[in-house]
């Protein structure tokens, strides 16, 4: 009988604790403690027990009864409290309490998206030095000293005081293309690589120019890389980044480290090609320089230009970010004002 009592107690408690409304609770009370409830019926058996056991079982029975009663009254209290709370009118139009989280910088968000798009077509990501030698920034890229194209990339040189290094040989890289030579001299084709990073120019600052900004370089070399692959990769990237409807247009351009060389324009994502301040009313935005890697560049890293070809391109990452978010000034990206950051 002791075991039966415990069984009744356990089943009663689990049902009571599971119960989530007052009406059911009332039914449970009847089911166990009512005139023909399970416990009541058991208690009626009590006088049938041998005398010596009655004391012990009697105490147990009382305890079980008390526990069930207490549990029911606690549950009643809890449920009726809930009910009364539910009845209070909550103004659900009050704004929620937001968790205190920070914001990833828009440049970072754009960068991660770029990396992600290129990963899908087999590109790996590299990173390299900003303090660079004249060799990797220029000469390895077929830009000898005193080449007029250096005018387009006015350079900041690092002071050589207290150093054994010759002046004018160490600079802040003007382009992420410095990584072409550094990486290619260490590996054999095939490879597909992008290199994001900071670059520096001796340039006065205005809405569209800065002395520090972010770029990324892409290059691929294999036996069968063609100019149509270059155009395809660039179009793929811009359609993924700015949307499928984006149009890409190529024009011929000269960069000493590519031949043939090209520039790409995309249909303005801000005005959809109608003309606005972002595209100087042309409907097109110049966004990238590219071309087939010059044979001299490949020779400089001991890759046979008769066997292998490659393409290379460079894009202004800062420019991508300002276009994506329609920011009309490049300097917004280096302004730590939280009123800017919190928008992203």
């Amino acid at each position: 009988m002791g075991e039966e009592l415990i069984g009744v107690k356990n089943s009663a408690l689990s049902l009571i604790l599971d119960c989530d409304n007052l009406k059911e609770l009332e039914e449970l009370k009847l089911q166990f403690l009512g005139r023909s409830g399970k416990l009541t019926l058991l208690l009626k058996e009590l006088p049938k027990l041998p005398l010596e056991k009655r004391g012990e079982i009697g105490r147990l029975a009382n305890e079980v009864k008390k526990t069930i009663e207490e549990t029911i009254s606690q549950a009643q209290e809890k449920l009726s409290n809930q009910n009364s709370q539910n009845k209070i009118d909550i103004d659900t139009t009050i704004p929620g309490i937001k968790p205190d989280i920070g914001h990833l910088h828009p440049m970072t968000q754009v960068l991660y998206e770029v990396v992600d798009i290129f990963k899908r077509i087999g590109f790996q990501v590299a990173d390299g030095p900003e303090i660079e030698t004249d060799y990797y920034n220029f000469e390895a890229l077929n830009i000898p000293k005193d080449h007029p194209s250096r005018d387009t990339q006015q350079t900041l040189y690092v002071d050589t005081r207290n150093s054994r290094i010759a002046a004018g040989e160490t600079l802040l890289r003007t382009q992420t293309s410095n990584m072409q030579g550094r990486i290619m001299e260490k590996i054999k084709p095939p490879f597909r690589i992008i290199v994001p990073g900071k670059v520096f120019r001796y340039e006065q600052v205005d809405v569209s120019h800065g002395f520090e900004f972010q770029q990324f370089e892409g290059f691929a070399v294999d036996e069968n890389i063609k100019m149509t692959d270059l155009f395809g990769v660039i179009e793929y990237f811009f359609k993924k980044f700015f949307g499928e409807k984006t149009k890409v247009r190529f024009v011929c351009h000269n960069f000493p480290f590519v031949e043939p060389g090209a520039e790409a324009y995309i249909s303005c994502n801000v005005c959809k090609g109608k003309g606005c301040t972002f595209c100087k009313n042309s409907g097109w935005v110049e966004i990238l320089g590219a071309g087939m890697i010059h044979p001299n560049v490949l020779r400089n890293v001991n890759i046979d230009p008769n066997k292998y070809h490659g393409f290379a391109f460079g894009v202004g990452l800062s420019r991508l970010a300002t276009l994506r978010y329609q920011m009309d000034d490049l300097r917004l990206l280096t302004n730590p004002d939280m009123r800017i950051l919190e928008q992203f």
């Binding site: 990833l104 990501v125 005193d146 690092v158 063609k226 351009h253 031949e259 939280m338």
Partner: protein, 627 residues
């Protein structure tokens, strides 16, 4: 380069509208920056790439238009120079190493006067100020044909001698526009028997310039060495139309034609007679050169099959005299001297591609295997993203600040600027030093945000530039942050969480600094990455329940909590966690979690461990249990 449409039309028939023409020229590589109306004319402004000196002339641009329009170019009349009517003396000492070609002639009895209206108007349209007929003619011919030339007053050439030589450095030179320069070393100049009279390829000299009294002129059409011109021009910060052409490489075969054109115009507009033989001192003949284009390589590099007859027609439209060598599947071309950018086969491939039209190319993606081997300089952006996400999830916003700082910034932060990497030619004193810490930028950012925000939590992951001089310069990514609203222990906990996620067991306390009302932290992220361990092995969850216990101790206040926790933990491997619950004066209460992975812990088991803890703490720190 500015080109009026009316001038271009003199050499080529143009059927395209100005807008279409601008677009087509941009597509073939002659970037059209602006098209504007002026009086009865249309003015084009082009961006000329460094490889194309020929496009710094009207005739050069007309040639590109002719190639687009499939038209023939009409060159201006270049009559032969007639026999001299007398012979004035002049000695020229040229040095081919510094002046590979020197073409010239003397014209006597000229009349210097104002130029005719048509000439003045043309010069004005391209932004040049008319001076007198002789100077205007030399400018006009340079703009028309692309070979710069200079006229000297013959009578001002002392000793009738022209010595082409290089400077020692420091010499004074006054240019035609009355500016005095101190010349750098190795500038190429012309000296007469007394003095410097010309800064070759850049500016003529004041002392030999054409004046209203000039009767006799010497016209010089040179080829200069690009690097000498560029070095001098850069050293002086002095650029001219001529220097822009010479530093790109002038048309080496064009000096005679240029002189012919000039002489013809001088005789027509200033009168006079030829007074010397034609001088043409030259290192070599400067003839056109041959260049081959293999048709299979063309297709292989471009990825598009352009029919052979189109290839021939494109090359022909560029005056490259293409000839198919039938048995070799290649085309032989002859490159005119004005196209010195065409040196290798790839250059010809570009010529074909650009005139065929880049936008007619189909688009593909690279075939072949996707490279698998990890590249040198590989960077794991996923890891960086994970780290940044930990910070944003704790309320920190990310900033990017400049790598370059001012001397004040450096000094205010307590560094000696002498020991910080510096830029030789900063754009301004505000951006002169390379940051060795990101804290400076973060502190400025905090101050900037104070008027608008109460709670400011910012971080940056960027490069710091270490080393006292270039000899030991080193770049490292630093991860730094600033907060005016979190406590030391919140920042410590954040860094502990970061380390946990990266599998690093270091104590971050030393990376955090409290200053006034802010907490700043900084760590060398590049170094941290060397220690990370992202391998995870699943540990089964314990089968047996833990036992919790709070233990209050009376202990010397000076003893570090960290050491106490460490000591308690060391007492048994069944202690799986210890934390400080509360402390008041000498009383410290620790929350201890016991667990045995092999079975239930009895009260007796726990009390044995507790006794060991108390014994050790007593002997080591004199601690007693609070009753």
């Amino acid at each position: 380069m500015i080109a009026p449409l009316s001038w271009l039309k003199e050499y080529v028939d143009i059927t395209l509208s100005p807008k279409e023409l601008g677009e087509r020229l941009t597509e073939v590589g002659l970037g059209t920056e602006r098209i504007s109306k002026a009086d009865d004319d249309t003015i084009f402004e082009f961006e000329i790439t460094p490889n194309r000196p020929d496009l710094l002339s009207i005739i050069g641009i007309a040639r590109e238009i002719a190639a687009i329009e499939k038209k023939t170019i009409k060159l201006p009349k270049l009559p032969n120079i007639s026999k001299p009517q007398k012979s004035l003396s002049l000695t020229i000492n040229a040095d081919y190493k510094i002046n590979p070609r020197f073409t010239g002639i003397i014209i006597d009895r000229i009349t210097v006067k104002e130029s005719p209206v048509w000439l003045k108007k043309r010069l004005q349209k391209v932004g040049l100020r008319p001076i007198n007929n002789i100077v205007d003619i030399t400018n006009y011919v340079m703009l028309e044909l692309g070979n710069p030339l200079h006229a000297f007053d013959y009578e001002k050439i002392k000793g009738s001698v022209l010595n082409v030589t290089q400077t020692n450095g420091g010499e004074e030179f006054k240019s035609v526009d009355s500016v005095t320069y101190h010349l750098p070393k190795d500038a190429v100049v012309i000296k007469d028997s007394e003095k410097i009279i010309d800064l070759c390829g850049i500016k003529g000299g004041f002392n030999s310039q054409i004046s209203n009294e000039t009767k006799t002129i010497f016209i010089r059409v040179p080829i200069e060495v690009p690097t000498f011109i560029r070095k001098t021009s850069q050293a002086l910060g002095l650029r001219s139309e001529a220097s822009a052409i010479f530093e790109r490489g002038v048309n080496s075969g064009g000096t005679i034609e240029t002189l012919r054109r000039c002489v013809d115009l001088v005789l027509k507009l200033a009168g006079g007679e030829i007074a010397s033989n034609l001088y043409d001192l030259k290192k070599s003949d400067f003839s056109p050169w041959k260049l081959e284009l293999r048709l299979d390589r063309l297709a292989k590099i471009l990825g598009v099959n352009i029919p052979e007859k189109n290839v021939l027609s494109i090359l022909d439209s560029l005056n490259l005299s293409p000839k198919k060598i039938a048995d070799k599947n290649l085309i032989e071309t002859i490159i005119p001297t004005y196209r010195n950018d065409l040196k290798i086969e790839e250059d010809l491939i570009e010529e074909v591609a650009r005139l065929y039209g880049y936008n007619k190319f189909p688009k593909a993606l690279p075939l072949g295997q996707i490279p698998i081997k990890q590249i040198p300089y590989f960077k794991d952006y996923k890891l960086e993203e994970k780290v940044k996400n930990i910070f944003t999830s704790c309320g920190f916003s990310e900033i990017y600040t400049y790598s370059l700082l001012s001397e004040n910034d450096i000094a205010d932060a307590g560094f000696d600027p002498e020991n910080i990497l510096r830029i030789d030619n900063p754009i301004s004193r505000d951006f002169e030093y390379l940051r060795s810490t990101l804290k400076i930028g973060l502190k400025k950012a905090l101050i900037q945000n104070k008027p608008n925000f109460e709670k400011i939590n910012l971080f940056e992951l960027g490069k710091a530039y270490l080393g006292k001089s270039l000899d030991n310069a080193e770049e490292a990514y630093f991860l730094s942050g600033i907060s005016n609203s979190k406590t030391f222990f919140e920042i410590k906990g954040l860094l502990e969480e970061l380390f946990d996620q990266l599998g690093i067991t270091d104590d971050p306390s030393g990376l955090i600094q409290s200053e006034d009302d802010t907490i700043v932290f900084e760590l060398n992220f590049s170094k941290l990455l060397e220690k990370i361990n992202l391998n995870r092995t699943f540990v089964p969850i314990p089968k047996y329940p833990p036992v919790f216990e709070d233990l209050s101790l009376i202990i010397d206040k000076r003893i570090a909590i960290g050491e106490l926790i460490k000591t308690i933990k060391e007492q048994s491997e069944k202690i799986i966690n210890v934390s400080l619950l509360s402390q008041f004066e000498k009383t410290k209460t620790f929350h201890i979690v016991y667990q045995d992975k092999n079975g239930n812990l009895s009260n007796e088991d726990v009390s044995k461990i507790r006794e060991k803890i108390l014994k050790t703490l007593k002997s080591k720190f004199g601690a007693t249990q609070k009753e």
